[in-house]
């Protein structure tokens, strides 16, 4: 037992190590050389990849947790219960990476606590910061039983789980409301940038559009993650559950497409729809990837019932969603700022390292905790004695 063995050098371990090394250097550049040396941000493009990819995509893709939790605990969709823990964990790690992202995204991260005491109720960002703080706490509590049930002390474990059970419905309800608020307010942030945001993306309905796009993206990400766990981590979730979940995504995308269409038609964006320019091309890229292709694919039972095809379609939804958030936060500002922002490699490295860390955490959680039903039970790694299990 005391023999120390070097970890095996596998492909993924190598990739993860390279990403972490790059991320560590990027973090060093950010904190010891400043924004100028570690990013390509300028005054006319003050929010770049860290906000667009780290925060906007991170929060949006983490929308699966509240949606599945609400479906199972509040709406009684018992058949999704096998995936509820995975969905909550995915969201929790997503929010943790967003909070981590704040540490290098903010200019003065050591003042991150300021919004708790210094209030400005007129600021959308203030509401977002409070919602994210509270919701991350809610997610931690929703996730906590997965850890607590591994505590070897029976009384303590039972005491916690009993109280948790009483509070759970309230937590899920509060979580759903908080999520709805800040998912939409992330879009609301851009309302104030009227005149700077390209007409293809500016809309008074930005909050609603952000909300309606986050939920299908979050569900798609959950399906993808569960599929991967089925494939590589001995998870045994009935693929029919995933197929059924995907049936909700298409109608959601319909509603989104309808509102987006009406919005584009009525808010002066129509003349820009068929102009030969980068923004318009990226707009169509986004729309076809996020809405058109997935709607066509998901309407076919063949696609929904084939786990591989379903995984690919969900990947499209997630990538299309990311294209939307990056378009809103970067592409849409290109013309008005007169600056062609391309993130520096250190920006990519830091975000990638953060997301990878979340991925690694997810991997070990699924391996060592009861996150998903499995063919091989998890190791009782914290249990002192089999009698306590």
């Amino acid at each position: 037992m005391s023999k120390f063995r070097l970890p095996k050098l596998t492909f993924w371990r190598t990739v993860v190590t390279v990403i972490f090394i790059a991320g560590a250097y990027a973090a060093y550049a950010r904190f010891f050389m400043g924004f100028q040396r570690s990013t390509n941000l300028v005054d006319s493009q003050p929010w770049g990849l860290w906000v667009g990819l780290g925060t906007l995509c991170g929060v949006g893709i983490s929308a699966g947790g509240f949606a599945i939790a609400a479906a199972v605990y509040l709406l009684g969709f018992e058949r999704y219960r096998p995936v509820v823990r995975a969905a909550v964990l995915l969201s929790f790690l997503g929010y943790l990476s967003v909070c981590t992202g704040m540490m290098y995204e903010l200019g003065l991260p050591w003042r991150i606590w300021h919004p708790i005491f210094m209030w400005n109720r007129r600021s959308v960002l203030f509401e977002v910061s409070w919602c994210v703080m509270l919701y991350t706490t809610v997610l931690a509590l929703e996730f906590s039983p997965s850890l607590v049930e591994k505590i070897p002390f029976v009384r303590l474990r039972q005491f916690y789980l009993k109280w948790h059970h009483h509070l759970l419905i309230g937590l899920v309800l509060v979580g759903a409301v908080l999520s709805s608020l800040h998912q939409s307010f992330l879009g609301g942030l851009y309302l104030l940038a009227k005149g700077k945001v390209d007409p293809l993306w500016y809309s008074p309905y930005l909050p609603t559009l952000f909300y309606l796009s986050a939920v299908p993206a979050g569900l798609s990400a959950t399906i993808m993650v569960v599929y991967l766990c089925n494939r590589s981590l001995n998870a045994r979730v009935d693929p029919r559950v995933l197929a059924e979940m995907s049936q909700i995504i298409a109608p959601m995308l319909y509603i989104y497409a309808l509102l987006r269409g009406i919005d584009v038609a009525t808010h002066g964006a129509a003349p820009y729809l068929f102009v030969w320019r980068e923004e318009t091309l990226l707009f169509w890229f986004e729309v076809s990837l996020f809405v058109i292709a997935p709607v066509l694919l998901l309407s076919r039972a063949k696609v929904r019932n084939n786990p591989n095809a379903l995984y690919g379609t969900c990947a499209m939804v997630v990538m299309g969603f990311m294209a939307n958030r990056l378009n809103v936060s970067i592409t849409a500002f290109q013309t008005s700022s007169g600056f062609y922002y391309v993130p520096k490699w250190t920006e990519f490295a830091l975000t990638l390292a953060t997301v990878t860390a979340a991925g690694v955490a997810f991997y070990y959680a699924v391996k060592y905790l009861e996150i998903l039903p499995r063919s091989v039970p998890a190791k009782n790694w914290m249990t002192l004695h089999p009698a306590n299990a």
Binding site: F31, F32, G34, F35, Q36, L41, V42, D43, S44, P46, W47, A70, Y73, L74, L75, G76, L106, G107, L108, P109, R111, I112, H114, P115, M118, W119, N120, R121, R122, S123, V124, L125, F126, E127, S129, I169, L173, A176, V177, S180, L181, S184, F185, G188, L189, Y190, L191, L192, A193, K194, G195, K196, P204, P207
Partner: protein
């Protein structure tokens, strides 16, 4: 609102001597090198558009987008008119840069503890009854300062009695009015001024923020109601199963196993 201060910049009078820039830099202790654009060490600059000189500075809006954006309230519209920045509150989120319709705030990208920088109309000086340094330095009174209503009246008088002026005071109603006005004999669009709506920027987000109580009440209420139905169904199903079990003569507490 109490009386607020305002600056009038008459583009027809400016001779492009850059004295305002120099005075501003001196007051803030910045290096004197001339800069082409606003920067963390240039709170005002004079741009050249053909043969016209246009001074740029923070417009110190009546209802500033930056102040509504700032989540910690570091940016504030003071009673006196200037929009001030409390650097001790700032967390460096840069939402003010995104929000400002005039693209005024600048960020100290090269520093390790970067702050937002912008002109505050020499709030400290004005609070003591002194004019802003730039206005004081102007040798031809192209910039003048005074109470906003009086300054506005003066601007109106000038564009009314002299036909060379464009019949618009830039800043009188842009984004709900500003504390810096421009009058010119060349159309403003040709001098790099952005055309803006009369609606104050914060109105754009106020509507969305106003929906919070509705979302909380309706959304929360709806979900709570749906949970009640779900729970009720469960209880009914349980009771029915119990009855059925009792009717079929089997053990009463069978379902508890």
């Amino acid at each position: 609102m109490a009386r607020t201060k305002a600056i009038l910049i008459d583009i027809t009078k400016c001779i492009g001597c850059h004295s305002c820039e120099a005075a501003c830099k001196q007051l803030h202790g910045f290096p004197q090198d001339p800069e082409p654009r606003l920067s963390p060490t240039a709170f005002t600059i004079v741009e050249t558009h053909d043969d016209r000189f246009v001074r740029r500075m923070c417009m110190n809006c009546q209802d500033p987008a930056c102040a509504s954006a700032c989540l910690v309230g570091a940016l504030k519209k003071t009673e006196l008119g200037p929009v001030t920045y409390d650097s001790s509150k700032c967390i460096g989120c840069r939402y003010c840069l995104v929000a400002c319709p005039f693209n005024v705030p600048r960020y100290q990208w090269s520093k390790l503890a970067p702050l937002v920088t912008k002109c505050d109309m020499c709030f400290a000086r004005q609070a003591q009854g002194q004019p802003p340094a730039c206005v004081e330095a102007c040798p031809v009174q192209a910039s003048i300062v005074g109470w906003r209503d009086e300054i506005l009246e003066e601007a109106q008088k000038r564009i009314l009695f002299d036909s060379k002026y464009v019949k618009h005071i830039y800043g009188s109603d842009e984004v709900g009015g500003t504390s810096v006005f421009f009058i010119s004999d060349v159309p403003f669009e040709k001098l790099g001024f952005t055309t803006l709506q009369a609606q104050p920027m914060p109105v754009l987000t106020a509507n969305a923020l106003g929906d919070i109580p509705t979302v909380v009440m309706v959304g929360g209420g709806l979900l709570a109601g749906l949970y009640w139905i779900t729970n009720r169904r469960k209880l009914v199903a349980l009771a029915e199963a119990e009855e059925a079990a009792a009717a079929s003569g089997k053990g009463k507490d069978r379902h508890h196993v």
